[in-house]
Amino acid sequence: MIMAEPARRNVVKETNDSPAEAIPDELDLVRRAREGDLAAYDDLVKRYQERIYATVYHMTSNHEDANDLAQEAFIKAFHALKSFKGGSSFYTWVYRIAVNKTINFLKQRKNKSLLSLDDIDFNAEHDPDLMALISEKTPRREISLTELQEKLNEAMQKLSEHHRLVVTLHDVQGLSHEEIAKIMDCNIGTVRSRLFYARQQLQAYLSDYLK
């Protein structure tokens, strides 16, 4: 469940939905949206807009790209609703559309990435885990959160799209291996091995900030 980790509760607004706990009226909203009810689709967008945006943003490290990709993923999903059979939750289905769209975009963009980072929420300065890591473990104690954010994003951008996606979904967004496997349409073993490799790579890139 995406909100499982305590640190997340400070940041992301709580919503009472998840793939595992499908809201009873979600299927009704999907049915109405499929019939052209834009108000129903507006409700669906509002439910998942933050997560979809966050996933795309963490993949691109660029607010403008994330904005366009997230919007276009929802637009594409609306037009593809007729093909949605309900085999998975709407949440997983939209996620898959957004992820595929993002990966295609990143392949086109290749190395032409320009960081356009969102601001760090002021609550970060009150996160005891994060502050402890910065003040005690980091040899460069004078480093600011903004600098650390930039280094972290640069390191993320060095990962391949699939490895970055696994880290984003698991370590940043808190999804389970099973949910990630559904979104990426692969088995859990693949998710685990990609996560392990991606963490190894990140640890090497960020070694100066983790000692």
């Binding site: 640190a7 997340r8 940041v11 834009l38 689709y41 507006d42 967008v45 509002k46 807009q49 933050e50 945006y53 943003y57 963490h58 607010h63 403008e64 790209d65 366009d68 990709l69 997230a70 919007q71 276009e72 929802f74 637009i75 594409k76 999903a77 609306f78 037009h79 769209k101 295609n104 975009f105 963009r109 032409k112 320009l114 980072l117 969102d118 601001d119 760090i120 929420d121 609550n123 996160d127 885990d129 994060l130 890591l133 473990k137 959160l145 650390l148 954010q149 972290l152 994003n153 370590d171 940043v172 963490r199 990140l202 640890q203 090497a204 960020l206 070694s207 900030y209 983790l210 000692k211």
Partner: protein, 175 residues
């Protein structure tokens, strides 16, 4: 807790990654998000990558990337300025050097011996024309002094030759 570089314990990394959870879009961003999506659907958009394609192509142009790099790195901007100035100065120096070499050759070479290989003509004025003009042409660096035939070669050692009025020897037909 200290961690060896090759450790498989990713606890610190995961703690560092929590920083990404605090990256938030501008305040109020999500208030308009769904409305924008619905508006774009009503406008007939299909979710193609129109805007993104434009961004990819604009990001992809070498000039755009170069300009962005100059904006972000003052040192690179300075280095680029120095290179441009260096090219300009070396162009001027090369031009002056070419002129200097021509003057040196004019002083050392016996001009009449090299240039005066024209057919003897009964018309003295024609010969005098060659004698008078050879010195001035050599001084201007316009005549290839190694040429021993009647057709003189125009030098092209300077970058600014195209800006300079050029002249060549004229052979008057014997009368």
């Amino acid at each position: 807790m200290s961690m060896a570089p090759d450790s498989q314990n990713f606890e610190d990394l995961q703690r560092l990654l929590t920083l990404k959870r605090y990256e938030q879009p501008p305040p109020g961003y999500f208030h308009h998000f769904s409305g924008t999506v619905i508006s774009r659907i009503e406008a007939g958009e299909t979710g193609g990558s129109g805007r993104l394609s434009v961004r990819i192509s604009s990001n992809g142009s070498w000039f755009h990337n170069f300009w962005k790099a100059l904006e972000r790195r003052p040192a690179l901007t300075g280095a680029f300025g120095i290179i441009v100035c260096g090219f300009f100065i070396s162009g001027i120096a090369l031009s002056e050097k070419s002129d200097g070499e021509a003057a040196y050759v004019t002083e050392k070479a016996p001009p009449l011996a090299l240039v005066r290989n024209v057919e003897p003509t009964p018309d003295r004025d024609t010969t005098l024309f060659h004698e008078r003009s050879a010195g001035s042409l050599l001084a201007q660096g316009l005549v290839n002094v190694s040429s021993t035939n009647g057709a003189s070669v125009i030098r092209s050692g300077s970058l600014f030759d195209s800006l300079r009025p050029q002249s060549s020897l004229v052979s008057w037909p014997p009368q």
